[in-house]
Amino acid sequence: MALALGGRQRKAVLLAAVPVGIGLGFGVAHLLSGSIAYWGVVSGPFWLSLRVAVPATVIAGVTGVAAGYVLAKGRFPGRNVLEALGSLPIILPPTVIGFYLLEVLSPGTRVGGFLTRVSGHVLVYNVAGCIIAASVAAFPFCMRAARAAIEGVDPQLEQAARTMGLSPTRVASKVTLPLARRGISAGLTIGCARALGEYGATLMVGGDINGRTRTLSLAILDSFTAPEKNTMLLILVLVAVTAMTGVGLLGRSRA
């Protein structure tokens, strides 16, 4: 039955399957734990994590793909140094990333004060801070995957497109990026997982404020000191696995 569906219908089914799957994850977890008493404890961090991870994946995806494109196609010295700098969030401890982000974003610092005046918002200890921290954590995965995928596109196809009268921008949008979509989707999936699971930098920049900045990852730590910890962990693991399986399926369907 599913095999008879067209490409768009299949994507629509998969798009619908993700929230349904997440809901099923919750349901199964609750049934297994024999209690739904902790829904109130988990639902807040869960929805906050989605509010953080989705825009963070978009931000990291757009900037990461752009950076990956420049690194793959640009012919300038220091490309590898730039890639190493962009990859620092993978290598450095998340708390160090969080420390530097605090230095940059806090209203009390020179840069942070400027950013606060320009944006009109304080960028730390709120959802905006969490999104920025998660974006920075997800960025290198998107960038590195995009670079590898774009470098893997047959340059002869891009040459053929130029002989068809396509400008470099149209070659990128009509040929290179569509052909690199499988690798880019993989990078976005990993980036989304990283944003969803971000802990250290989020803790530093967002704090662990119950009801405001306590994401799923932060809630896990809190559950260790609460009697409902087993239920919490089971729910979190099932939600994370279901969500990432859904995102992975979506990535494959676009490829």
Binding site: Q156, L157, Q159, A160, A161, R162, T163, M164, G165, L166, S167, P168, K174, V175, P178, L179
Partner: protein, 239 residues
Amino acid sequence: MTAALEVAVTRRIGEFELDVAFTVESGITVLFGPSGAGKTLTLALIAGIISPDDGTIAINGEPVTDVARRINVSTQERRIGMVFQDGLLLPHRTVIDNVALAVRQARGRHERRSLARGWLERVGADGWADRRPGSLSGGQRQRVALARGLVGDPALVLLDEPLSSLDSAVRRELRALIRDVLVSSGVPAVVVTHDAEEADELGDAVIEYHDGRVTGRRVVARPDTPAPPSAETDGFGST
């Protein structure tokens, strides 16, 4: 009469040096010679995919490459159509989208697709318009590539060994089709081949290549061409 193509270039790649000069006025001109003679390199220079070390290239009298005057018109602005050895169709787009993407002269999607469908009909490929290139045979792909090379109203069409990857039966069939379509379109064409029979069947004029030099030229007498087109070499190998 302004020549459709004037080429006088040199280009060194490692030990190999290309040093050719010739003029194409109309019809189908074949660059014929053994592998490694510099034929495909010449097409890449005409298309602007590679830049020469020295020399000039003009299409319809307009210089697109002139090393001394620092003129190097980008590939996408040269108004050429190109048919590659293995088609090089975009695998993620349908046949009609591949052809419609090459339309330069129309803006709207409907008009582009309409032009593309017309060319697919002319090459006998309209039956596969909604298929992906991966599901086509080699001969079918080359028909589509021919439509894609001509749909953009090019001033010149370049065909790089368009039949070399096909079996002999399909090759014979496509030779006739390519010649018919190119002659009826009136667009000057330069075809690269190392097959002598193909050179004579396709070309109105044949320019012979050997080891990076033009070693001769001849006009092919054929009844279907009213006025014999010319392809002149400006000295064999000198620029």
